[in-house]
């Protein structure tokens, strides 16, 4: 028979969830509501006057082919960042997990890049790949490859993906490493006795057992690539060349804080909110079904 503790009255439960609720309302619901409200206006930067335009901001945005193109750019960018940060992290975690000695040192070293702020990481990578003085582009030049991310959109995309994924590998590593450590040794030993080699054991036993972690990281990384990467893009490419790296969140930033166009910027954040909301729903509805807790 199921045992349940049921609160008497409402006061205590409300008090218990209140801190979380208040924080959500102040830092999430209130600004989101403001953004929705502001997206209906074209205000001047100083807040002296504003014109009600209804859905005019949305019409303006969706009628702009560069804005529509940035959806595709964002999709490509976030898929690449998510893969480039999760796959190497998993690989490194598997390697560190196999170590018997000094795995502590390795894992500590691997976590370090996470401490580097995105904008700083951006500057580091920008210098390494600087088309004229960068050390990596110099070596590429020696190999006969002419690296020029200021004019080549594909290379620019590659560079911002690497710079964004780099610090995230550490974060993902940490979670994968912990998940791998919690896989019961008895299961692995039993299958080893049954004659399963390493990769067989990995795919049939380990991987299914760490899917909850992998799923969590998938959601978190997608959200990261949507929202937190604008520092990297701002420092390396500023969205260029020819908008090849202008992802949605960068456009929110540059229209709002460079162009002082708060109406368009608010409308874009509303659109972004809807997109990320839909993505999260899809992830939970379809991918989570394959996750075994």
């Amino acid at each position: 028979m199921e045992k349940r503790v049921i609160f008497r009255g409402w006061l205590l439960p409300i008090c218990l969830v209140a801190p979380q609720l208040i924080i959500s309302i102040i830092f999430f619901f209130y600004p989101a509501a403001q953004a929705v409200w502001q997206s209906l206006f074209i205000p001047d930067p100083f807040g002296l006057s504003s014109q009600y335009v209804g859905l005019g901001n949305f019409e303006y945005l969706l009628g702009d082919k560069y804005y529509r193109a940035s959806f595709l750019t964002t999709a490509v960018f976030s898929v690449l960042v998510t893969f480039c940060s999760m796959i190497p992290a998993l690989l490194l975690a598997v390697c560190a997990d196999r170590l018997i000695k000094s795995s502590g040192i390795y894992s500590t070293l691997l976590i370090w890049p996470y401490a580097v702020a995105p904008a700083v990481a951006g500057v580091l990578w920008m210098f390494m790949f600087n088309t004229r003085v960068g050390i990596v582009s110099w070596y590429l030049g020696q190999l006969g490859y002419d690296w020029n991310h200021v004019l080549n959109g594909g290379e620019a995309m590659g560079l911002v993906v690497i710079a964004s994924a780099w610090g995230r590998i550490s974060y993902n590593f940490l979670f994968f490493f912990a998940a791998l450590q919690s896989v019961p040794k008895s299961l692995i030993e039993a299958s080893a006795i049954d004659g399963a080699h390493f990769w067989r054991r990995f795919f049939d036993i380990v991987l299914p057992l760490i899917t909850p972690t992998a799923f969590f990281l998938l959601v978190v990384n997608v959200v990261y690539s949507f929202f937190e990467t604008f520092g990297v893009i701002h420092t390396i490419t500023a969205g260029g060349p020819q908008q090849a790296t202008t992802i949605l969140v960068y456009k929110v930033f540059s229209d709002g804080f460079v162009g002082q166009d708060l109406g368009s910027s608010s409308a874009q954040s509303v659109i972004l909110l809807v997109v990320v909301g839909l993505l999260t729903v899809i992830q939970f509805k379809y991918i989570e079904k394959r996750v075994h807790y």
Binding site: I42, P43, D44, P45, F46, G47, L48, S49, S50, Q51, V53, Y60, D64, Y66, N130, T131, R132, V133, V150, L151, N152, A238, G239, G240, P241, Q242, Q243, S254, D255, F257, V258, G259, Q260, D261, G263, S264
Partner: protein, 436 residues
């Protein structure tokens, strides 16, 4: 001993607010760090030491865009400073915000401080005056593009470093010779839109935008896809294709290449002087910006880049008196001459320029007067007074993108500029409706 020191410290901490109370504080937000930041602080200290009624408090608020944003956010929170430094592309934004700013001519008239609008150099002042000639903000740091020449690199490639490079036709020949002589980086530029479109248009007396480049109204449209601009950008695009013009980025990234001696020619602001004179280990020279003989028989004036000081609304009248005194102090000949000589920025008054000449500075530092001459040789026309376009920071971003398409060979100059006009005009229309 220790107790005494503590006592003195405690006493001074208690007293200092009292002493500050006696003076009216004037807050000044600017965007300068490093050497420029020190020079601004020195100006402020000198002003504070020169009188007892007012105390200017200077604060660094980040780069140009960040300083403007900080000012806007502060105004919304009713915490705005008295004086805000705004870069030239933010001019239209400030000008349109009539309830947020107090025009400089008004501040000066009310404060009774010495102010002679005619003392300022026309082409500097013109950028910041209304169409009826009233000064709206005080020009602070202004520079204009010039051609920097690495004479050693010219010689190394077998080109006579004294070759005349007044016109782009001549520069084109020099680039051919440099390339043939084995130079890997014949030409780089900084601030491509500012130099090769905005200044290019003014210098050849062709419009950059309709309505007198936006001075005459918000219903302006870009005209940067005219035949003169397209011809110049096509030539640049061909040079880029042949490896004679090397593109390094949207800002002044090319400066590093020029200062290291890697490149022969460099189009950059006259304010590049401080950095180049400090770092260059080669024989360098400043030349006037070239012009196309085929487009104009002789060049008009170039326009400025840099920043001006805006006075914000919402303060007490005795504070505005202090603002007036400070702005008047900044415009004095000595302060301006020192600023011009230390930074390479243009002097904002004709008197400061003459004082600099009289002191023999230009003979000791040849080429430092080229920018002044280039700016002042001719009376500015409607096409060369400056630019006043809303959302201009973003429009520059669009122009940068389209220029990159030319350099990479993705688009012809005409296609790229047509597209820049179409995209930029959309932003201008939005700015117009936001500021109706």
């Amino acid at each position: 001993m220790n107790k005494n020191i503590l006592g003195v410290l405690a006493a001074s901490t208690c007293l200092s607010p009292l002493m500050a109370m006696a003076q009216t504080e004037v807050h000044f937000w600017h965007a300068f760090t490093g050497r420029l930041g020190e020079l601004v602080a020195a100006q402020v200290d000198e002003f504070n030491a020169s009188q007892n009624d007012y105390k200017v408090v200077q604060t660094h608020k980040g780069n140009y865009s960040e300083t403007l944003n900080a000012g806007i956010a502060a105004f919304r929170a009713k915490e705005q400073p008295h004086i805000l430094m705004v870069f030239e592309v933010g001019t239209a934004t400030m000008m349109a915000a009539k309830g947020a700013i107090k025009p400089v001519y008004e501040v000066m008239a009310e404060s009774g401080a010495t102010f002679d609008p005619d003392a300022y150099i026309g082409s500097v002042k013109g950028y910041y005056t209304s169409t009826d000639g009233e000064m709206l903000s005080l020009p602070f740091n202004s520079s204009t593009p010039v051609l920097w020449v690495n004479r050693d690199a010219m010689s190394a490639a077998g080109v006579n470093p004294d070759t005349d490079m007044s016109t782009w036709e001549q520069v084109g020949d020099v680039l051919d010779q440099l390339k043939a002589g084995g130079e890997d980086c014949p030409l780089v530029t900084a601030w491509q839109s500012w130099i090769h479109l905005e200044n290019f248009s003014a210098y050849h007396n062709v419009p950059f935008a309709s309505k007198d480049n936006g001075f005459a109204g918000l219903d302006t449209e870009l005209m940067l896809n005219g035949p003169a601009q397209v011809a110049h950008l096509s030539a640049m695009g061909n040079w880029a294709k042949d490896g004679k013009f090397i593109y390094t980025g949207r800002r002044n990234e090319g400066g590093a290449n020029f200062r290291s001696g890697e490149c022969a020619l460099f189009t950059e602001s006259s304010a590049g002087y401080a950095g180049i004179s400090r770092e260059a280990e080669f024989d360098f020279e400043v030349r006037p910006l070239p012009y196309w003989k085929a487009v104009a028989s002789e060049p008009q004036n170039t326009i400025i880049g840099g920043a001006s000081l805006w006075v914000m609304q919402g303060h007490e009248s005795d504070e505005y008196k202090g603002v007036g005194e400070f702005l008047s102090f900044l415009s004095t000949s000595d302060v301006q001459a020192a600023w011009h000589q230390n930074t390479g920025y243009l002097p904002i008054t004709a008197e400061a320029g003459e004082a600099t000449r009289a002191s023999g500075f230009y003979e000791k530092n040849p080429g430092t007067d080229i920018a002044v001459i280039q700016m002042t040789a001719k009376q500015p026309t409607a096409n060369s007074k400056g630019l006043r376009l809303g959302s201009f920071d973003q429009i520059r971003g669009i122009i940068d993108e389209e220029l990159e398409a030319i350099w990479s060979g993705d688009k012809s100059a005409q296609e790229a500029m047509d597209s820049a006009k179409e995209r930029g005009d959309k932003l201008l229309r939005r700015f117009e409706s936001a500021n109706k």
